[in-house]
Structures are given as structure tokens and as C-alpha cells.
């Protein structure tokens, strides 16, 4: 569309920023990427997200939208090609339910697993697995994605959780997305991360591992 100006304020390792990048790419939207240094936030970021001072922020023709899931819904409403949310209100409600569940239940348990050690870590991992198992029930057998035949809102929202689960599994030696107990979710994650348009947006694994290892060192300075 002529005269459209889309700017995206993100951070390379930010999971929520990745959601927006995926949405922009899936819709084929041209945008200017502005990389933020989270230890030295730009005046632009503070101007466009004064309430939370966080990435991601989408600025469309000078108007800022913050909060990744709200941005994705905004993108879906403005750019109609490749719809991310279903049309039917009940299906939309289900999609919104699952993304909320993922953020409010799955993520905190995974954070606990990441931050804790020993028995507490195992307890947190168990809780995370239970939530992930529940999340799996949002997947319809025979359908590739949460969105059905095509990638949708829930896939984008939950996708990074899958990436992060792999990181936590590796760094903390736990099982999260377990193939045996969560075959559908495991298969979904494998498929989703291999989709070219999704894959090309994911930062290099070793860089992500290194970045997250950095948090671990800060948390437990005496760990090897």
C-alpha cells in the first residue's frame, strides 16, 4: 500500500518480538527493523511504549502499538492477506484462550524450571510438562498446526515457547516437550520450526543458548 510506514522495535533474543516478526513475515509486510539495546533503551522506545518501556513495539504510520499479542491481532486486522485468526467467533475465542493459557500458565512454570535447581527444578519441570500436556489438547489430530492447515495466531504465540523449551531442556537437563507423553505437541514443534519462513527468523541456536546461559550464570554464580 502506498505511503505505509511500518517500523518494528525489537531485540534479537526477545521471544515476544519474534512473534511479531513471524506475523510480519507471514503477511509479507515491508518494515524497518530497529534493534533495541535493552540495557540502553532508546528515546524512541521510551516514547512509543512509555507504560511498559519494552519491546516489541510496532509503529504504523507513526502510531505505536505495544504488547506482542495485541500487535499480532492489529496486524491481522489491518493486513487481510494470510489471516492469522480464524473467522468464526468461537474459534477466535478458543485461539485467544490458548495464547492466554500459554503465557499465563506454561511460561511461568518454564521460567521456574529455568531458574531453579535440584528438586525444585524437577518439581517445576513436572508442572511445566502438565501445562504443556494441556496445551497439546488445543491441537487437532490430523492438523499440522494449531491454526489447522495453515499457521495461525496460536502457532505464532506458542512457537517461541517451543524454542525456549528446547533451550531450557538443554541447559537444565530436563524434559519438557516430551515425545512419548506429548506426541502431538512434539510433532507440531518439529514441523513448525522447520517451516522456512519461521525458521529463517529464529536467531542461531548457539547464539540463543549462549544468551540464555548468560542469565543462568547471573542467577547461580557458583554453577559451572
Amino acid at each position: 500500500m502506498a505511503g505505509e510506514c511500518v517500523q518494528f522495535l525489537g531485540f534479537w533474543a526477545s521471544p515476544s518480538a519474534l512473534r511479531v516478526v513471524w506475523a510480519l513475515k507471514l503477511k509479507g509486510i515491508d518494515y524497518e527493523h530497529i534493534e533495541e539495546d535493552l540495557l540502553n533503551k532508546s528515546p524512541l522506545l521510551l516514547k512509543y511504549n512509555p507504560v511498559h518501556k519494552k519491546v516489541p513495539v510496532l509503529v504504523h504510520n507513526g502510531k505505536p502499538v505495544a504488547e506482542s499479542l495485541i500487535i499480532v491481532e492489529y496486524i491481522d486486522e489491518v493486513w487481510k492477506q494470510n489471516p492469522l485468526l480464524p473467522q468464526d467467533p468461537y474459534e477466535r475465542a478458543k485461539a485467544r484462550f490458548w495464547v492466554k493459557f500459554a503465557d499465563e500458565k506454561v511460561v511461568p512454570d518454564m521460567v521456574s524450571t529455568f531458574m531453579k535447581t535440584g528438586e525444585e527444578k524437577e518439581k517445576a519441570a513436572k508442572a511445566a510438562r502438565e501445562c504443556l500436556k494441556t496445551l497439546e489438547s488445543g491441537l487437532e489430530e490430523g492438523k499440522q498446526f494449531f491454526g489447522g492447515e495453515a499457521i495461525g495466531f496460536v502457532d505464532i504465540a506458542v512457537g517461541w515457547i517451543g524454542i525456549w523449551a528446547r533451550i531450557v531442556e538443554k541447559l537444565k537437563d530436563v524434559s519438557l516437550v516430551d515425545e512419548e507423553t506429548m506426541p502431538l505437541l512434539h510433532a507440531w514443534l518439529q514441523n513448525f520450526l522447520e517451516v522456512p519462513i519461521i525458521k529463517e527468523c529464529i536467531p542461531p541456536w548457539d547464539k540463543l543458548l549462549q544468551h540464555n546461559k548468560g542469565y543462568l550464570v547471573k542467577l547461580t554464580p557458583d554453577s559451572t
Partner: protein, 218 residues
């Protein structure tokens, strides 16, 4: 079309009240089912197996849960008296503030009310920060739709009524006229809105609700 609409709610719950307000705004007939939160019904557990909470909207046998999700569902299904604006940017703004109210303000207020003595001061300051941000949003006309109630107005029921009632009950001053004059004034007018007013619990009902919450927390 024979629509069957049921709402599982609890008297005293702000989240339940939100849905009643929305259904009334849209002129939707429904059956209301009062849940005893200390003794949840098999139907509630069937229709919200994951969270086991109210409110739950049942529409022609399909259940929708989580109050903000329900509000959007209602708006998309019944088009009269829209709760969300037409313009995508305005919609995003409305969603932002509704989310802010639920994720930051409700949580901060809860922390302040339930905080132990030594943690109280910090919790109260955090709640004040939230209210300060809301006061700014009010000044920028992000809510207070006047005659018509929008998503943010409906979501802000907690701030206008429940927060103010709880602060009296708990003896923790959060939303005062002195600190937040515009927000305070808005809350006074808000609770007088005819539709809002209809679905506000009495003081006694609120106390019963609080006691049940306490019971569940133990």
C-alpha cells in the same frame, strides 16, 4: 434463531459482573447460574475444566471462558452496541488498557491488600504507580466512554468499585481523591451508570464473596 445463552457467575466477582454488563448492553437474554465458589458445580467443572473458574459463557452448548475473551466473543457474535471500536488502532489501544488493568492493576491491588505488614509499603507504592498510569490514560481519553460503555470501561469495573470497596474493608488506601482526583471522580460517576449499577454487589454480598475467596485460598 433459538439462541441458548447461559452465564455461570458469582455474585461479588468483578469478572462475572463484566459479562452481565456486556450482555445487558447488547440486549441479550440469558440464564444466569450462580456458582458457589467453595463448592463448584459439576457443570462448571465440565465447561471450564482447565481453570475451573467463573465466568463461563455457554452459547448453544459451546463454552467460552476468561472474561476479556468472553467480552470479545460477545462483541463479535452480537453486533448491536459495539464494545470495541471499529478502527484497528483504536481496538489495539482498547485491548492494551484492558490488559493493563487485569495484568497490572488488579494484580498490584491484590498484592497491596493481601500483603504482610513488612511488604505492604512496597506493594502499595506499586499499586499507586498503576493508578497513576490509569489516571494518565483517563486524561488521554483512553476510557470513560460517557454514555456508551466500551471494553476498557467494562474492564475498569474492578478499579471503580471493587478496589474502592476492598480498600475500605482492608484499611489500605489506594484510590483516594487526593492522590488521583480524575480517577476518583470517574469512579464516582461510573458506579452510578444505570447498567453498571445493576450488576454491582451490595457490601454484604462483597463480604460473603471475600470470605469464600479466603476459604479457597487456605
Amino acid at each position: 434463531m433459538a439462541e441458548e445463552v447461559k452465564l455461570f457467575g458469582a455474585c461479588g466477582s468483578p469478572f462475572s459482573s463484566r459479562i452481565q454488563v456486556a450482555l445487558k448492553l447488547k440486549g441479550i437474554s440469558y440464564e444466569y447460574i450462580e456458582e458457589d465458589l467453595t463448592n463448584k458445580s459439576p457443570l462448571l467443572l465440565k465447561y471450564n475444566p482447565i481453570h475451573k473458574k467463573i465466568p463461563v459463557l455457554l452459547h448453544n452448548g459451546k463454552s467460552i471462558v476468561e472474561s476479556l475473551v468472553i467480552l470479545e466473543y460477545i462483541d463479535e457474535t452480537w453486533k448491536a452496541n459495539p464494545i470495541l471500536p471499529e478502527d484497528p488502532y483504536d481496538r489495539a489501544t482498547a485491548r492494551f488498557w484492558a490488559k493493563y488493568i487485569d495484568e497490572k492493576c488488579v494484580a498490584a491491588a491484590g498484592k497491596a491488600f493481601w500483603a504482610k505488614e513488612k511488604e505492604r509499603e512496597k506493594a502499595v507504592e506499586e499499586a499507586w504507580d498503576c493508578l497513576k498510569t490509569l489516571e494518565g490514560a483517563l486524561k488521554d481519553k483512553k476510557f470513560a466512554g460517557g454514555e456508551t460503555l466500551g471494553l476498557v470501561d467494562i474492564a475498569a469495573n474492578f478499579i471503580a468499585f471493587w478496589l474502592r470497596s476492598f480498600q475500605e474493608i482492608f484499611g489500605v488506601e489506594l484510590l483516594t481523591e487526593e492522590k488521583f482526583p480524575d480517577l476518583f471522580k470517574w469512579s464516582e460517576e461510573y458506579v452510578e451508570h444505570p447498567i453498571i449499577k445493576e450488576y454491582l454487589p451490595s457490601r454484604d454480598e462483597l463480604i460473603v464473596f471475600l470470605n469464600k475467596r479466603l476459604q479457597n485460598l487456605k
